[in-house]
């Protein structure tokens, strides 16, 4: 088991790797698949920060990439941009036939990731960016769900100051040099009516208008006063803080925080975790650049040892029946929302053991799917989704900038200018790799 194996084994590198996932893969899904086909599957689990990337790099450098890699698409954009992924259009079609249309962002636009007529990603689920907040705190302090940044800041201050919730801070402002802090910055750009890139002269260019960006960063800096140590916050640690009841509001994805709280048996937090659209900065909804959910799922390496088998495995998982697809959400039901229209509404999904135990969490997921997602994606026409742009997004320059400004004492203007410079370099690199597209 693990890294190397015999030649036609399907090497499956996944970050669906909690203990429950591992159990499911090894004792249920994989044996069943192996029984039904001639293939054998060799699963390998990745953590989700740093380590997994390092391991993937090792595999690629050894010219022995895995057959299947599971990740959020844009984070793997550099791999894709270098032409190392296999098209999966047929597989996606087969999956859509069973589960309904895909509803995560990358597949909305024919000119987007589904470039040149091909799809390179079969999503398992989508991440919707939301404001996570504690219902009980709001209630106790008489707070309203914020719609603007000012309201958000006020709430943060109120929570921070309250004696009743002594340990809870106002807002988790992620500013580590890792993925989440760059996304927090993007979200604030989107909700201030701008984006990171735009189309100009038929090509993509970096577009981070200074005024809007500075305003966003100023708000973030202000919010950081009400945050537990911003430099240590990332996807994992902010969940941790949440479960420990140390924050009252934060930026995160889906109802994941509620799920972790439930899994850890911290019921009062699991019950009181609520989500809302991320607040905007006094702009009308139509001007928001908030994107549709980001797809997280399967990619197949062209250079793997058994790409055909890999596709077969993915089809077996997702194109068999809605029931099987829904059943794949039994593990981590709150982390990802199904990426296909028919799944969330299916009985099979509603009947998952987890939702039987936590009906309010089913409601929460449906709320995201039915209320929040429709509010996003207003500006998809103007917001480009090209190879070079996706590549440009995968760098850590904005994370660095957030860190410099919020944790360090860098001047906002300087740090922003430097980050933009790097963004431009990165975009140029992306264009070179993808042939200008």
């Amino acid at each position: 088991l693990g890294g190397s194996g015999n030649d036609d084994e399907i090497h499956f590198y996944t970050d669906y790797s909690t203990e429950t996932w591992q159990d499911r893969w090894e004792n249920d899904l994989i044996p069943q698949f192996e029984d039904e086909t001639d293939h054998s599957v060799n699963p390998e689990y990745a953590g989700f920060q740093g380590d997994s990337e390092e391991r993937l790099m090792n595999l690629i450098q050894a010219n022995d990439p895995p057959d299947i890699h599971v990740e959020t698409f844009y984070t793997a954009a550099d791999i894709w941009a270098q032409g190392m992924l296999q098209p999966m259009t047929d597989t996606l079609e087969a999956v859509e036939d069973v589960n309904g249309d895909i509803n995560v962002e990358t597949f909305e636009d024919e000119e987007g990731v589904v470039s040149q007529g091909d799809t390179f990603h079969v999503s398992h689920g989508g991440y919707t960016n939301v404001l996570v907040y504690r219902e009980d705190i709001y209630e106790a302090l008489g707070l309203e769900v914020p719609e603007t940044w000012d309201e958000l800041v006020d709430n943060a201050e109120a929570i921070d100051d309250s004696d009743e919730f002594d340990t809870a801070r106002g807002f988790a402002t992620q500013a580590g040099v890792v993925g989440q802090s760059r996304e927090l910055f993007w979200m604030f750009l989107y909700q201030n009516g701008v984006d990171t890139h735009r189309m100009a002269d038929g090509g993509v260019e970096v577009w981070v208008p200074e005024d809007e960006a500075i305003e966003a960063l100023e708000y973030l800096t202000e919010l950081a006063q009400y945050s537990p140590d911003p430099s240590g916050l990332n996807w994992g640690t902010s969940l941790e803080q949440w479960v420990q009841g140390r924050v009252g509001q934060m930026y995160h994805v889906n109802g994941w925080a509620a799920g972790v709280a439930a899994a850890e048996g911290v019921d009062h937090i699991a019950e009181n975790t609520a989500v809302a659209p991320l607040p905007r900065n006094d702009i009308p909804l139509e001007e928001s650049y908030m994107t549709l959910p980001t797809g997280n799922g399967y990619m197949v390496f062209e250079g793997g040892t058994n790409p055909a088998g890999a596709n077969e495995f993915i089809e077996w998982l997702y194109a068999d029946s809605v029931e099987r697809t829904a059943s794949l959400f039994e593990q981590e039901p709150m982390r990802l929302l199904p990426a296909y229209d028919d799944v969330v509404t299916s009985d099979a999904y509603a009947n998952l053991e987890y939702f039987q135990a936590w009906p309010e969490h089913l409601e929460l997921n449906r709320q995201i799917q039915e209320e929040i997602v429709p509010m996003y994606g207003q500006n998809t026409e103007e917001s480009p989704t090209t190879g070079a742009e996706q590549y440009g997004l995968s760098g850590y320059h904005y994370a660095d900038m957030m860190n410099q400004i919020i944790v360090g004492d860098a001047a906002i203007e300087d740090a922003l200018a430097e980050a933009k410079g790097q963004a431009e370099e990165r975009l140029a690199e992306g264009k070179e790799l993808t042939g200008g597209w």
Partner: protein, 296 residues
């Protein structure tokens, strides 16, 4: 001697302010035991804290602060993590790798140290220096080449592969230690065995090895520290869940859950702290003897 004027060392050199001998003695003991108390507190406190929280209800751990464990919240529940999921596997793997590393390091360095101490060959000194040079290269960029080499020779995910890697980074120090130690064993003991008809190998085994015990313990301890500690190598060379060791394993666990239960972590930490404590308690005499580098 009978009058102060005859004892210049007492009065003249230090002036009249010199404290009486008894007072100085008392002050010295105060400083000594004070120091001992202070550093034991500094060293012991984190361990105490670990123990205290390992036995405290995991919810209490993150919400309440208390200097002493309170009877209501004392629990053994945290230790259930030791039986759950992958933790036992990690621990067993760590033990296997550590034991393997100790065996390889001791065996190889014993032979090499013997050779260095007893045979005359050219470039011996250069060889020793060359070994130490290896310590000067930052190990963090070595992951990739190691990975490539290991996958080439099929040692990935094999605990023996990690054992080899860890052994060789323990090598410079271990060989040096053995070398210096064996030099202190009189050669005449071996010679008398040769004269009795024992072959070189037999002599090594019967005469040298038993007397090298302190150095063996010291090398074993050093290898133990390296293997028990190792995070980086295990992370790179044992990617699979089944074969990996404690340090990367626990980091994965922390990552995966998206949530750290401090109670559980303290319980696991306690488990990983006990073997070194036993090692240090029972073998310290040997160990110190083994580390004794004769200076001029």
């Amino acid at each position: 001697m009978s009058t102060p004027t005859e004892t210049p060392s007492e009065t003249e050199t230090e002036g009249g302010t010199r404290l009486s001998y008894e007072t100085r003695d008392r002050l010295y003991n105060l400083a000594l035991y004070g120091s001992a108390a202070l550093f034991s507190a500094v060293i012991l406190f984190p361990i105490y804290w670990m123990v205290q929280n390992a036995f405290t209800d995991s919810q209490t751990v993150i919400t309440e602060f208390s200097w002493l464990p309170s009877p209501e919240t004392v629990t053994l529940d945290n230790f259930s993590v030791l039986a759950a999921g992958a933790v036992p596997r990690y621990v067993i793997n760590t033990i296997v790798v550590t034991a393997g590393t100790i065996v390889v390091v001791v065996a190889v360095s014993l032979v090499a140290g013997y050779g260095m101490a007893r045979f005359r060959f050219r470039y011996k000194q250069s060889f020793a220096q060359f070994l130490l040079l290896g310590y000067m290269f930052s190990p963090i960029v070595l992951g990739l080449p190691l990975y490539l080499i290991w996958s080439e020779i099929g040692l990935l995910n094999a605990q023996i592969g990690l054992v080899i890697a860890l052994s060789s980074i323990s090598m410079p120090f271990a060989v040096w230690l053995m070398w210096k130690y064996i030099q202190t064993i009189p050669e005449s003991m071996e010679e008398s065995a040769w004269i009795a008809g024992a072959s070189r190998w037999r002599t090594f085994w019967d005469v040298v090895v038993p007397q090298t015990k302190p150095a063996i313990v010291a090398c074993a301890l050093f290898a133990f520290a390296i293997a028990w500690n190792d995070f980086t190598f295990a992370q790179i060379l044992l990617p699979s869940q089944e074969s990996t060791t404690f340090a990367p394993g626990i980091m994965r666990l922390i990552d995966q859950g998206g949530y750290t239960s401090w109670g559980d972590i303290m319980a696991v930490s306690l488990l990983m702290t006990v073997p070194p404590l036993l090692f240090a308690y029972f073998l310290q005499e040997y160990l110190l003897k083994g580390f004794e580098v004769r200076t001029r």
